[in-house]
Symmetry: C2
Subunit: 454 residues, 2 copies
């Protein structure tokens, strides 16, 4: 009996301990995955302490009274992880507060000219109209992407200025206090955000896009070794790299994340290697091309896992050009990913390697085509056995085109001259430009047309 | 001279007028695309008028003073387009306000026990600690998905309760006022949201997932007619349907939208045909399978646009089974989309049609395999010419498997018995269940394993 009670008591404690341990482990993982998260949390804590002490500063409190709380609130809501997100919110918040404050004071003055009943009716009508119209504007796609928060604050401030007008006539003071406290809060938040280990959305975006290209490269290298493995030891050596054959899947669903990062990056001021007006939209183009390539890799991956397989002896015939395409296009993509991360003065040397790879890829693709057009090697085979490997070969020819489009887009990005290095900016002259890049510009115009497709 | 001035004056006016017209047209389109947006805007305006008038109500203003403004602010920030989003924000906001208020009062009482210097140090330490820890918690994936807003409000309320404590001892009153005004605001917002044309995230999610499946079906029907068109008139008749061959592309990038909608739907109470605890996660599974199917359609589409094409006379040999697969799997998917939208008591009749289509598809896939294994028809052909069409045939065989997986997932969803109709819930007995569904349950276990892949 006593033992039974003990068991009953022990159970929830054990369960609770297990839950706590599990939670602690997950939290540790969150911090380990990106230690900047811990720094950001400390930064927010610090900004809050700063603004609280400021609140405690008597002249400030005497000036604003309880409204001083808006400075604290502003710090809480605008402190975001990246500089772009913080500045985007700050610009939206200050602009919206200023505009809504001015509109509120203007409309209130208009309403105050009428009698008390007229004022009540007019103020109610203004609240309804401004609230409805501003809410509707939030549905417009372009405004939603960049100024959704601003419109929310616009409605909020307008109501805060107009609504107390029902009771007293202090609209001017309310508008002034609101703007000043918001400005103080924004100043504190942006100072802490910029001065202590800032996280730049531009750098995040660049890393994300280049990491995605690297993942495509890793898959291609792994795929060639896996699909065209001939001997038992070959197969065994590639088993360890299985994870590289799956990591490309995250590229398939990367669209929304990249779009959001481009939006945030565009709020950021000039810094580091990025100049003002850096062509952030080019990353959307490269991202779209990467996803198009990832869809082709998804098709290749399905051939790898399919029940219908080509016998190894048939694969042997097309092994050489296919393996060359896989490994060279993999290397090309990984080099392009590296190019995007490096300063532009090191670009020419990298692109010359890219150029030689690109030529090698073209030759391999041509020889693969010639092979497929030949009749000698497959005459004894059943077409059903040939198809999967031949379909893989066709897909690989398309992957080559895709990789070249990515190379062209990366080249366009890195040659815009808005990257900055410690040395002068070395934009290659047409003569210095790799031949394949120049050729591409006339041969593959679809690259530009296909931007919006992914 | 005068003419020149006129031109100069005319130019910006023209530009301005063009801009305004363009903006008006875009705004009109936003309203036309979804008229519920206009209704939502009017609802928000109405909720603001209601809360403003309440603010004007003397006993209310006398009780809360300027803090009554928090009721107005709450209405502005929690009024979202769908019921799920509004309720999610309201639950987060009230729970966070309550918890942070209680924690704030508790910690303040603790700090107040020490001297004035000790109180200052302790309060500062609490602000830093709570601010940092709560900010860090916002990075945990599960919390971020559902309680990000709640944590923001937690930090906000905690600061609002603790920070004025530096100046006076009214923490209890602050906490009480804050909670009451937030509760009044939430009540107003949820009443307007639920009583006037509510928009349910659950219905939106269901429509989005079923529309996506329909898009896949449309592509398949159009693809069969386009790729295997034999005569000139055939080709001409399909040109009009070109848009159906592109609409599937939106399915490729639907992941984030669907995940967000599942999250919002899970906040919604029981309503209409959905019971409490409706298995919203099943939609994620169906969405993932739809995207896997869309990737295959992307591969098919690339064969349609490829430079390397199989001559029409070779295509003719495999035309029949391929066209059957395209049209039948297209119809199957469109019927499944219809099933998801209809009440469950009409389900059995629909699934019997699905069953016959599924059998037809299996037969067609088998006959296609047999055809590809035969040697008579392609002996005179060059393998290079045969490959593209044969690769399309292989992809179509995979599309059949994919469509059956979607059918199984839709069947699982509609047979969970959490759908409600005006009549009794008619869950089919094992005998009534279509044979292919029962077979699938043992034959295709991968459907469950692959959930997280898309």
């Amino acid at each position: 009996m006593a033992f039974g009670f003990q068991c009953l008591r022990a159970l929830p404690v054990k369960y609770l301990v297990a839950k706590v341990v599990d939670f602690a482990e997950k939290t540790k993982k969150v911090a380990k995955d990106d230690p900047r998260r811990v720094i950001h949390s400390i930064k927010v804590g610090l900004a809050l302490v700063l603004i609280s002490l400021y609140y405690n500063f008597q002249p400030f409190y005497d000036g604003f009274g309880v409204d001083a709380m808006w400075a604290v609130i502003t710090v809480v809501v605008v402190s975001e992880f990246s500089v772009g997100a913080t500045i985007g919110k700050i610009i939206n918040r200050t602009a919206a507060t200023l505009l809504a404050g001015a509109l509120g004071v203007g409309l209130y003055s208009l309403a105050a000219l009428t009698g008390s009943i007229g004022k009540l009716i007019l103020l109610t009508a203004f609240v309804f109209l401004v609230g409805s119209v501003a809410t509707f504007m939030r549905f417009c796609p372009r405004i939603k992407a960049r100024n959704d928060y601003g419109l929310l604050i616009f409605i909020l401030t307008f109501c805060m200025v107009i609504v107390p007008g029902y009771q007293d006539d202090e609209v001017w003071e309310t508008a002034y206090k609101r703007f000043s406290t918001v400005a103080i809060g924004c100043f504190t938040a942006v100072t802490v955000c910029l001065c202590i280990c800032p996280v730049w959305s531009g750098v995040e975006l660049q890393n994300s896009v280049s990491n995605n290209i690297e993942k495509l490269g890793n898959f291609l290298e792994g795929f060639g070794a896996e699909y065209f493995a001939t001997m038992e030891d070959d197969r065994r050596s590639t088993v360890a790299d299985k994870s590289s054959l799956e990591s490309y899947k995250s590229v398939l669903t990367s669209k929304n994340t990249e779009d959001a990062m481009v939006n945030l990056a565009s709020w950021e001021p000039r810094y580091g290697r990025f100049r003002f007006n850096h062509p952030w939209k080019e990353y959307i183009k490269i991202g779209t091309l990467s996803r198009q390539c990832a869809y082709k890799l998804e098709a290749l991956n399905s051939y790898l896992k399919s029940d219908i397989q080509t016998p190894a002896e048939i694969k042997t015939h097309m092994r050489e050009p296919c393996v060359i395409i896989c490994s060279e296009s993999g290397k090309l993509l990984k080099e392009l990913a590296g190019t995007m991360r490096k300063p532009i003065n090191q670009y020419s040397s990298i692109s010359s390697t890219c150029f030689s790879r690109s030529d090698l890829l073209k030759t391999a693709a041509e020889s693969l085509k010639t092979l497929l057009k030949g009749q000698s090697w497959w005459e004894q085979a059943v077409v059903f056995d040939v198809i999967p490997a031949a379909a893989v070969a066709l897909q690989l020819i398309e992957v080559v085109t895709c990789a070249e489009k990515i190379a062209k887009a990366v080249h366009e990005l890195t040659s815009t001259g808005t990257f900055e290095t410690e040395d002068t900016i070395a934009t290659p002259t047409p003569e210095q430009q790799p031949n394949n890049m120049r050729r591409e510009e006339t041969v593959v115009p679809e690259a530009v047309i296909m931007i919006g497709d992914g």
